[in-house]
């Protein structure tokens, strides 16, 4: 595969703040490339430079071997497009939102209509053309933004945390669409994320970013076998527990994570290990849970944070667990700080780092 984008010694400063330091990177044609790093590591700035909406302070960016500069920036913008973390939509209909970029490319009315119908089907929003874009739910808005980007058939598709702050159903739709697009259309994609699983499932290559620098580039397998503590500092991992694991007679393991808690995990491992549980895999209930879930604890809510359609709760059950539930469930259960709750998760939801 030949490189489509080449970044050479790209630096960016805003006054005294250094956002990017000497970034060297090659994005190959047709690959899905992921930028993994915590907030503020420079992922967004890097994407904005690749998209041609931000000028690097120094360094060179090449698209298909041609240096990007003042004279050809408009052509570059026609060949790349970006989906923002905070969904940006024009205050008009879904149709006009998607039509905007097509119009700039001189598409006829018929071509535009056909394309819009096609991309709305792709993101599973058939028949949404006339809806006012800003009246849709957060997840649907992000799908419109994705459809609008897909309609342009650009060489490069840039995605800045495309699934942050939206509910799991919409996340899985967007992830499905992205895998499909890469497979069917061979579009080159660069995804900035702090979600390791997303990077792992979608990307062929991952770059770890920290404090404006690229620390390591490699295949997901290579990256995710890095020492767990180092890795955990790049991704916003929650519910990470370390402890001594021993194998049970059922072929699972019991991990003693301290404070009297033991977590049952789906693998056979002995010795010191680190595991994590995704917040969305934990079930929350006001009453004791009788279920097939092998791990069940009682605790109290110590913190509540609102993230759009979802609510994140910190539950203290010996150790602190982050649990993610929908706002509707949250309201129906009438939860509050200090409410007594029960949490449960299956052994199969326990992942090893």
């Amino acid at each position: 595969m030949k490189p489509i984008m080449e970044l050479e010694n790209i630096s960016k400063t805003y006054g005294n703040i250094i956002a990017l330091k000497q970034v060297n990177l090659q994005i190959l044609e047709g690959e899905v490339f992921s930028l993994l790093g915590p907030n503020g590591s420079g992922k967004t700035t890097l994407l904005r430079i690749i998209a041609g909406i931000e000028k690097p302070t120094s360094g060179e960016l090449r698209l298909n071997g041609i240096k990007v500069g003042e004279n050809n920036i408009n052509q570059v913008r026609l060949k790349t497009t970006m989906v923002f973390q905070k969904t940006a939509l024009f205050s008009t209909s879904v149709y006009k939102n998607i039509a905007y970029g097509l119009k700039l490319r001189g598409c006829s009315k018929r071509e535009t209509d056909e394309k819009i119908k096609e991309v709305l089907e792709t993101v599973r929003l058939e028949g949404y053309e006339k809806r006012p874009a800003k009246k849709l739910s957060g997840g649907e808005q992000q799908r419109v933004a994705l459809a609008r980007a897909l309609a342009l058939d650009t060489d490069v598709l840039l995605l800045d945390e495309p699934t942050a702050n939206i509910d799991p159903k919409n996340v899985s739709i967007i992830e499905d669409v992205l895998s499909w697009i890469n497979k069917e259309k061979k579009t080159t994609m660069v995804i900035a994320t702090h979600n390791m699983f997303q990077a792992e499932t979608l990307a062929k290559r991952v770059a770890l970013m920290l404090e404006g620098k690229i620390v390591k580039v490699g295949a997901p397998q290579e990256i995710f076998t890095l020492p767990s503590k180092l890795l955990a500092s790049y991704a916003r991992l929650e519910n990470v527990f370390s402890g001594f694991s021993k194998v049970t007679c059922e072929g699972t393991s019991l991990v003693d994570i301290g404070d009297g808690l033991q977590i049952e995990a789906p693998f056979e491992k002995t010795g010191k290990i680190t595991v994590f549980v995704r917040p969305e895999d934990i079930i929350l209930s006001s009453n004791p849970i009788v279920s097939s879930a092998r791990n069940s604890f009682e605790g109290r809510i110590v913190q509540i944070s609102d993230i759009g359609p979802l609510v994140k709760l910190k539950v203290r059950a010996g150790k602190d667990f982050i649990v993610q539930i929908t706002k509707r469930s949250f309201n129906e259960m009438r939860l509050n700080v200090d409410s007594k709750v029960f949490i449960a998760f299956k052994a199969s939801s326990v992942n090893i780092i």
């Binding site: 904005r48 998209a51 041609g52 909406i53 408009n74 913008r77 026609l78 790349t80 497009t81 970006m82 923002f84 905070k86 940006a88 939509l89 024009f90 205050s91 905007y100 970029g101 700039l104 490319r105 006012p132 609008r148 980007a149 342009l152 840039l158």
Partner: protein, 231 residues
Amino acid sequence: MGNEIIDGFLKALQLIFSGDSTVAEISIRSILVSSSAVMLSALWGLPVATLLGLKRFPGKFLAKGFFNAMLGIPTVALGLILYLFFSNAGPVGFLRLLYSPTAMIIGQAILITPITVSFIISAIESVDPEIRDLAKTLGASETEASIAVLRESMSGVVLAITASFNRAIAELGVVLMVGGNIAGFTSVLTTTIALETSKGEIALAIALAIILLLIVSALTLTVNLIQRRKT
């Protein structure tokens, strides 16, 4: 006194509903003068506001401050300045514009320019800053991205134009001083209301005041309804 007012009010209604030619003529002239003034102020105000709202340059703060300060300019003071300008001894006296509808249009346009400019600037500045980047990532050039931002701020622009018109049609000082309230030529709603009231012709004054209020509220209501349907 009470009877006089009720009497005047009834006569006013009669004047309006009988389609009195003086009432109609004055109302139409008022609307024409003020709409022309709005168009003129939009003609120079829109580019200025777009520039001030979108671009960054040294002195921008001062320019914005100037228009904000001019929002409260006393109409009589502006009327006087323009009178001196247009009078025979003034710099543009040779144009013989004093006491003409043209002078009134220019006067009102200058008066409402700070409203047009300041309101449009805040409409543009209230647009999500990401809209500009969004337009660019979809392939827009700098100019096309600016147009996209302007289009996003359209409801604010419409509001600015409406407010400008309302201010223009309701002001008295400028039109009186540069128009002179010549019957059948430069008399408009506000100048006639003032003159007729001082003459004790309360019925015509009330009739014209009702029309003035109707124009202003009907316009505002219509704009509001259109905006609501759009969002």
